[in-house]
């Protein structure tokens, strides 16, 4: 029998610009040697909207609605920096009360951005279900994943030298041992008056970046609480500047203007100077290089986005890594793109401290809760299906961990048919989704359940076919 010759060509795979697990319209051209990644080239521009050229044709006030569309998870930061530039150029002082209000809004935005990164990040590294539970069960997921896999520890290490050379900023910088936070270094707004620490780690891997972001959320809460206690009274806008540079014309005292005209928005001249203003956005240093031209419109408005530069290091990171780890690394690089789904609401929760010492039994408690706690049932739905459905979905997926090898000898059940067992068990999950959707007696939930089941099946069928064909080929 002929032993088939193995081919040693490199394979080039195109991921995107649309892809189920990619965040938005990023296109990656990946060169693979089997499972190892040799090279990865990102191709950008699918969301290029000409923001900088538009800025040259709008006054600052007219431009403000555009800036929230840069990074729409952290909108306060984009607006803050758009006004900071002209404020510094025109030497406009902001009252203390406004500065406190800004600090509160910025830190709330930081928490929102980090939380909304966390959900899809978990989805990327394999846990679809936690995406829906993330706002309630984030502690459970964190414990589960760190114990079960080393998908975040040791992955995507960026050293100190590389971080400086590649111009990274934000959590990427602080996870590699550099304690650099613009809020402390630049002393902007009123951050000096609060008692808070810069969150940083030394290792520079994905776990470190994860820890930095979680820590930042806690620090943000501290800042917000201190700001709320200490917020001063007084005006919140600089009332003198409203009337800047506008000659009073005599006809403005006429009937038409006094009783019909609306309050015009303040437009002021940007002096002919250059200025680079920056803010510590959740993803890093967001900066504007502003050249004024003695008119209402800026001459040049250069946006320095943190995500653009943080992405540039991707090809370096993924060399010699496994294909699946690209998702992990990309998740922590945190690039905001259009296709990302934004779930509403941020739930507050302290974390496990009651179930067992240090909350170690929380996983058990949560499992039990899944089965027993739900006390709101639809009056006319099928209550048995409704209550069992989620349990079936989660239990079947968790069971499949038993055959997944996390290391060369780290497998619970080392079966030869392990991969098929995994496919079989995890394919029970859509049944649970359908059960809960149907049992709710609500057509929207039903449709949601159908959609979720359709999605799971649409992944499983091609997956099974691929696995099947390879296994058949591998049998001698």
């Amino acid at each position: 029998m002929n032993i088939p010759a193995t081919r040693k060509d490199l394979m080039i795979v195109n991921m995107g610009p649309q892809h189920p697990s990619m965040h938005g319209v990023l296109r990656l051209i990946v060169t693979l040697d089997g499972e190892d990644v040799i090279d990865c080239e990102p191709i950008l521009g699918y969301l290029h909207r000409g923001m900088e050229k538009i800025a040259e044709n709008r006054t600052i006030i007219q431009y403000l609605p555009y800036v929230t569309r840069w990074d729409y998870l952290a909108t306060m930061f984009t607006e803050a920096i758009t006004v900071n530039g002209p404020e510094l150029l025109g030497n406009i002082q902001v009252p203390k009360r406004a500065s406190y209000i800004r600090a509160i809004m910025l830190e709330l935005s930081r928490i929102a951005s980090h939380l909304l990164w966390l959900g899809p990040f978990m989805a990327d590294i394999g846990a679809q279900t936690p995406f829906f539970y993330i706002f309630r069960e984030r502690e459970l997921v964190y414990d589960l994943f760190e114990a079960a896999t080393e998908r975040v520890e040791g992955v995507g290490i960026i050293g100190r030298e590389d971080v400086i050379n590649w111009g990274l900023s934000g959590p990427m910088l602080r996870a590699s041992g550099i304690q650099w936070d613009l809020r402390k270094v630049d002393h902007y707004e009123c951050y000096d008056e609060f008692d808070w620490e810069v969150q940083w780690q030394k290792e520079g891997d994905s776990l470190a970046r994860y820890l930095v972001r979680i820590g930042e959320m806690t620090e943000s809460i501290k800042i917000i609480q201190q700001a709320l206690e200490g917020i001063p009274g007084g005006p919140y806008e600089n009332l003198e500047i409203r009337d800047v540079d506008r000659e009073r014309k005599p006809e403005w005292n006429d009937f038409d203007y006094r009783f019909i005209s609306k309050k015009p928005s303040p437009t002021f001249e940007l002096p002919k100077q250059e200025l680079y203003v920056r803010v510590e956005a959740p993803k890093g240093e967001l900066g504007i290089f502003l050249i004024g031209d003695q008119s209402g419109f800026p001459w040049r408005w250069k946006i320095r986005p943190p995500g653009f530069i943080n992405l540039q290091i991707l090809p370096q990171l993924v060399k010699r890594m496994k294909l699946a780890d690209i998702m992990t690394i990309l998740g922590v690089l945190v690039i905001v793109w259009l296709e990302r789904e934004i779930s509403a609401g941020i739930q507050q929760r302290i974390g496990p401290e009651y179930a067992g010492p240090w909350g170690v039994l929380q996983a058990l408690a949560d499992g039990a809760k899944l089965l027993f706690k739900e006390n709101l049932f639809p009056s006319r739905g099928d209550t048995r299906l409704f209550s069992i459905g989620p349990s079936i979905a989660v239990i079947s997926i968790l069971l499949s961990y038993s055959v997944v090898p996390f290391g060369s000898h780290l497998v619970l059940a080392d079966l030869n048919i392990g991969v098929f067992l995994w496919i079989a068990i995890s394919s029970i999950a859509p049944i649970g989704l359908l059960m809960s959707g149907y049992g709710s007696n609500n057509k929207y939930s039903f449709l949601g359940g159908l959609r979720a089941a359709a999605q799971s099946i649409s992944y499983e069928i091609p997956l099974t076919l691929c696995v099947l064909s390879i296994s058949l080929r591998a049998i001698r």
Partner: protein
């Protein structure tokens, strides 16, 4: 060491011919240099002990059509050791080539590609100088002042040809230029 001292120190230390203009202001200090000396100046700033400007934050292109060398390329730099920022600027026209600083600052790779794509200033020794933000097959350099805000072509999917085609733009509404003056002033004219 703050903004002023590294600025002062570097002024005193490197050869005078490297810089033909320098400006210091409360909004930041800057050096204007020639394209010939750009690499040397950045090398000095990066490696010298008392400046140690190791982070390239941003490379920005600016178009001043009234000047002979119409483009200005601005390098925004940061020293984390001394917590100070400095700007280095150089001028170029459509055919001047600037030497790339990728070997000093790897982050310059994409910034220089963006300046090339948006302005048309090319860089010598750049490992991969091609477009980064505009569409495949796009012609023109959008951020130049003579390139209109709405561009020249629009794209649509053409069903008979089964592909995306580029056509000259058709605007259903004329571009309205909202002047900073009060809208009521225009009303009093007509």
């Amino acid at each position: 060491m703050d903004n002023q001292s590294i600025f002062q120190y570097s002024l005193e230390t490197f050869p005078k011919k490297w810089v033909h203009l320098m400006e210091r202001s409360e909004h930041g200090n800057r050096f204007d240099t020639n394209t010939d000396y750009l690499f040397k100046l950045l090398y000095f700033l990066k490696f010298h002990t008392y400046t140690r400007v190791q982070v390239l934050i941003d490379i920005c292109g600016v178009d001043y059509p009234s000047r002979k060398r119409r483009f200005e390329v601005v390098y925004n730099l940061l020293s984390t050791r001394y917590n100070s920022r400095i700007r280095v600027q150089t001028s170029a026209d459509e055919v001047t080539r600037i030497s790339s600083v990728v070997s000093l600052f790897p982050s310059a790779g994409w910034w220089e590609r963006e300046v090339w794509d948006m302005f048309g200033v090319s860089f010598i020794n750049h490992p991969d100088l091609r477009r980064i933000l505009t569409d495949y097959g796009f012609e023109g350099h959008p951020l130049r002042k003579d390139f209109p805000l709405s561009g020249y072509v629009e794209v649509r999917y053409d069903d008979p040809e089964k592909r995306v085609v580029s056509e000259p733009i058709e605007m259903t509404q004329e571009f309205r230029y909202f002047d900073s003056a009060s809208p009521w002033e225009q009303r009093s004219d007509g």
